[in-house]
Assembly symmetry: C3
C-alpha cells in the first residue's frame, strides 16, 4: 500500500494482461480476468494484490500469504497455499520488477520551460521536454526529447543530453556528453576538473584538465556523486552502469557496461573497470589499476592492484576473497578468544 | 570572542539569572547581580565572561583562568583560583551548552515568502515561516509554523514538515514526512530512489522504490548527506538522532532514537539500528544487519554482522572492540618491530 | 585534441616564446619560430603539437612520438628521435603544466550581475566580478575583484572573498572568510555548524558552533566537500592546500599549507595537520590528533594517533608504512596460500 501523496497507481490490471507483459504463464487460465490492484511484498500483501515468491527459504511466508496472486517459478509451486493464483515466470524477481512498472508508470512529464529558467539563445531543447524553475542551460547546450531538467540544474556550455534523460534538482553538469535514458539524481557534480597538480617553486601548479565525461545510455547516477572530467581524454561511464549515492569517480576512470557501484565507493584517477563489475559500499580503488570484467569487490575493501576478470576480492589491501577470509580467521585464532563474551 | 559579522550576542545577563536557567547554584549568592557578557573556553576567557571546568585533568588551566565566572561540579571546586565566581551544576558541560543558547539565541526569523519562490497553489505554509529565494514547493507540500526554507531548496510533491524545521540552502527533499524541529543542512538529498536492481536480459532492471522517508522530531542532518526512501515501507530516522556530514543512508534503513552518526558513515539497505547507538566517522555497515541499542561502532570500521545491544565493535570486518585491540597487538608482535624508528 | 565545445585554445605560439615562458632552453635556437598549435600527451601528439618526456621508463613512446616539439630534461635528450625539437627544462612536468595554461588561458570573465541574483543592499562586489543567475549574497557580504560567483551560489551574511575567487554552482558558504584566488567547486558546503552535542535529560543538546572557516589564498576545494566552522575559534585551510571531491573537514580542524587531500578523505574535529601533508583517498583521521608537516598517509587508512613530521603511515589503525607492509606480509604468510588460483 503506497502513500498516495507520493505515488500514483494505474487502474487495476487483469491478471492475464500482467502474465502476458512478463512472458509468464497462468497456472489456471480461468484466472486471466482477475483484477489486480497493486503489488506488495509477501508479508504485507492482501486481497487484490500480487506478490512474488522466489526463494524456498521463505516458503513459510508464502504458505501464509494473503495475496490474490503470486509470481513464482514453476519449481516452487508446490509450496503454494490453496486458492491462490500463480503466475509462472523464469525469473520471478525480474518479473515482479516489471509488474511494478505496470502499476507505477513514470508520471507523465508535462512539457514546458519555466519562465525563470535561463536558456542561452544557442541552446536547443528537444520536443516534449521540461525545464524547471531556475535551471540554467549554457551556450550550445543540446537536450534530447522527453527530458526532464529539474529545478536549479546547471548545464554548462556545450553539454549534450540524449532523449529521455532525467536530471535531478540542484545538480551541476559541465564538459559532458550524456546518452539516452540517463538518470542523474540530486546535488550531483559531473565534469569538474580532475585532481592533478605538479609541485612548483611557489606551491602546487594545476595540470589543466582538458578532457570530458562521457556517460553512455541507460546509466543511473545517485545523489551527491562527483564525477571528474578527464585530464586528457575522457572519463567514461559505460552503458547500463549504476552508481549509488556519494560515489567519487576520478579523472580518466573508465567504467564498463552494467557495473554496480554501491554507496560511497571511490575510484581514483585512470583506473579501468571492465563490464559487469560489482563494487560493494565504501570500497576504495587506487589510481591506474585494472579491474577485470565480472570482478566482485567486497564492501569497505581497499583495492591497490589489478583484479583479474571474474575474481572476487576483499580486505585492505584487497586480496582474493577466500584468502581474505583465511586471513581474518587466522588473525582471530592467533589473538585467542575470551571465554566470556567480549566487552 | 565571536565574530560580530556572523554571530549576534544577546545583552549581558546577570549571573543569578544564568544559574537559574541551568538549575545551577551560586557558590556565593552575592554574585547573582554580576553581569556576564559572553561565554568562552577556559584558555581564552577573560573578565566578564563565563567558562566551564569539567575535567580535573585540566585543573592547571582552571587555576590560571581569567574568567569572571565558571560553571563546574561541586567536587571540582577545590581547584578554583581565588576571586572567581563559581556556579555549581550536576552536569557542567550540559549547563555550558545551555548557557551558550542564552547568549546566542537563534536569530529571529523574519517571516515571508520571497517573490522568486515557486509555491504550488495547493501547498500550505504555516504562520511565521520564511521561504527564501528560488525555493520550490511542489503540489500538496505542507510546511509547519516558524519554519525556514532556505534559498533554492526543492520540496517535492506531498512533502510535509512539522513546526520549527530549518532546511538549508540547495537541499532537495522528496517522498518524505518530517517531524517538528528537524534541521537539515545544505546540499542534502532526501527521498531519492533506493539502489535496487534485478538483472534482466538487456541489463539491470530497476526495482521501483515505492516507500518514503520518515524523519522524526528533533533530528539533525549534516551537509551533503543522502537518505534514500524505502523500496516498500519506509526509511526511518528516529527522534533526536543526529547525522554529521556526507552520511549515506540506504533504503529501508531504520535508525532508532538519539543515535549519533559521525561524518561519512554509510549504512546499506534494510539495516536496523537501535536507540542511542554511536557510530564513528567513515564506518560502513552492511545491508540487512541489526545493531542493538546502545552499541558503539568505532570509526573506520566495517560491520558485516549483527551487533549486540551495548556491544562495542571495531575493525573490518568488525569484531568486539577488545578482540580488535588484541588482533592489532598480535599482528604487530608477529610482524616484529624495527629497532630504529620505522620510515 | 580538445573538444571545442568545451575548451578554447589560444592562437598558435612560437616555440621560442614557449621556451621563454617556462624558463626553458631550445636545443636548436633555429626552432624558435616554429609555431606550436596545442599540447598533447606523447602517445597521441602529432605535428604542430608539443608534448613532454619526463621518465626514462617511457622512452619507447618518446622514440615513436610524432610531436613537433617535446619538453624534456637535458639528461633524457639521448632518447629523442631524430627531427624533433627539444626544449630543456629543469622540471619538465611542471613546464608542461605551465604550457597548458598558455594554450588554455582561463576564459575571460564577462563581468556583471544577473538580474535574478539577490544581492543584499549592504553587500559589496569588487570590479570586474560576475554573479550568475539565482546567486544570493547576504547582508554585509564582500566580494573581491574579478570573482566569479556561479548560478545558485548562496553566500551567507558576512562572508568575505578575496580577489579572483571562483565559486561553483549550487555551493553554499556561510561563516567564512576566503583569501584570494580560492577556487571552490560545485555543491560544496562551507561553514555549516560542527558536530558537537552534550547528552541532556531529554536527548542530545547541541553545543553552539560559534567559530568560523578561514580559507587562505590559492586553496582549491573539490565538488561536494563539507567543511564545518569552528566550535570556538576557527577551522583553517592553509594557503595553497588542495582538496579533492567529497572531503569532510570537521570543526576546528587546521590544515597547513600546500597539503593534498585526495577524494573522500575525512578529518574529524580539532585535528591539526602540518604543511605539505599528502593524504590518500578515503583515509580517515580521528579527532584531536596531530599530523606533522611532510607526513604521507596512505589511501584508505585510518589514523588514530599522532603522526610524526615526514612519517609515512598506512593501514587501519595506521602504523608506519614499512610496519604496515610487514603486517600485510605476515598475515598473508600465516594464512597460507592456495596452490591454485584463489576463487
Amino acid at each position: 500500500m503506497t502513500d498516495p501523496r507520493f505515488f500514483r497507481r494505474s487502474d487495476p490490471i487483469p491478471l492475464g494482461d500482467i502474465a502476458k507483459e512478463i512472458d509468464g504463464e497462468l497456472e489456471d487460465s480461468d484466472a486471466a480476468t482477475l483484477l489486480i490492484h497493486d503489488i506488495a511484498e509477501l508479508a504485507t500483501a492482501g486481497p487484490g494484490e500480487i506478490s512474488v515468491f522466489n526463494d524456498a527459504r521463505y516458503r513459510a511466508a508464502f504458505a501464509d500469504n494473503r495475496a490474490s496472486a503470486v509470481v513464482t517459478h514453476r519449481d516452487l509451486a508446490r509450496h503454494a497455499p490453496k486458492g491462490i493464483c500463480l503466475v509462472f515466470a523464469a525469473q520471478p524477481r525480474l518479473a515482479y520488477a516489471q509488474i511494478g512498472h505496470l502499476f507505477y508508470p513514470p508520471p507523465a512529464l508535462s512539457p514546458g520551460i519555466d519562465h525563470s529558467a535561463q536558456i542561452h539563445p544557442t541552446a536547443t531543447i528537444g520536443s516534449h521536454s521540461r525545464v524547471d524553475c531556475g535551471a540554467v542551460l549554457g551556450r550550445g547546450v543540446e537536450i534530447g526529447r522527453r527530458c526532464h531538467i529539474a529545478a536549479h540544474v546547471v548545464l554548462g556550455e556545450g553539454v549534450m543530453l540524449g532523449d529521455d534523460c532525467r536530471i535531478g534538482a540542484n545538480t551541476t553538469i559541465s564538459h559532458a556528453l550524456l546518452g539516452a535514458r540517463v538518470e542523474v539524481a540530486t546535488s550531483v557534480s559531473i565534469g569538474g576538473q580532475g585532481f592533478g597538480f605538479v609541485p612548483g617553486p611557489k606551491g602546487l601548479v594545476r595540470m589543466l584538465q582538458l578532457g570530458r565525461v562521457i556517460i553512455e545510455d541507460d546509466v543511473e547516477i545517485g545523489a551527491n556523486c562527483a564525477i571528474d572530467r578527464g585530464a586528457t581524454g575522457d572519463t567514461v561511464i559505460g552503458a547500463g552502469t549504476v552508481l549509488d549515492n556519494l560515489v567519487q569517480i576520478g579523472h580518466n576512470v573508465r567504467l564498463g557496461r552494467h557495473c554496480v557501484l554501491c554507496g560511497q565507493v571511490g575510484i581514483a584517477g585512470s583506473t579501468i573497470v571492465g563490464d559487469g563489475v560489482m563494487i560493494g559500499g565504501q570500497a576504495a580503488i587506487s589510481d591506474h589499476v585494472k579491474i577485470g570484467s565480472g570482478a566482485r569487490i567486497a564492501g569497505n575493501s581497499g583495492v591497490m592492484r589489478d583484479v583479474e576478470p571474474g575474481q572476487a576480492v576483499g580486505g585492505s589491501p584487497a586480496v582474493a576473497l577466500r584468502q581474505w577470509h583465511r586471513q581474518t580467521a587466522t588473525l582471530s585464532r592467533l589473538s585467542g578468544r575470551h571465554p566470556k563474551k567480549d566487552d
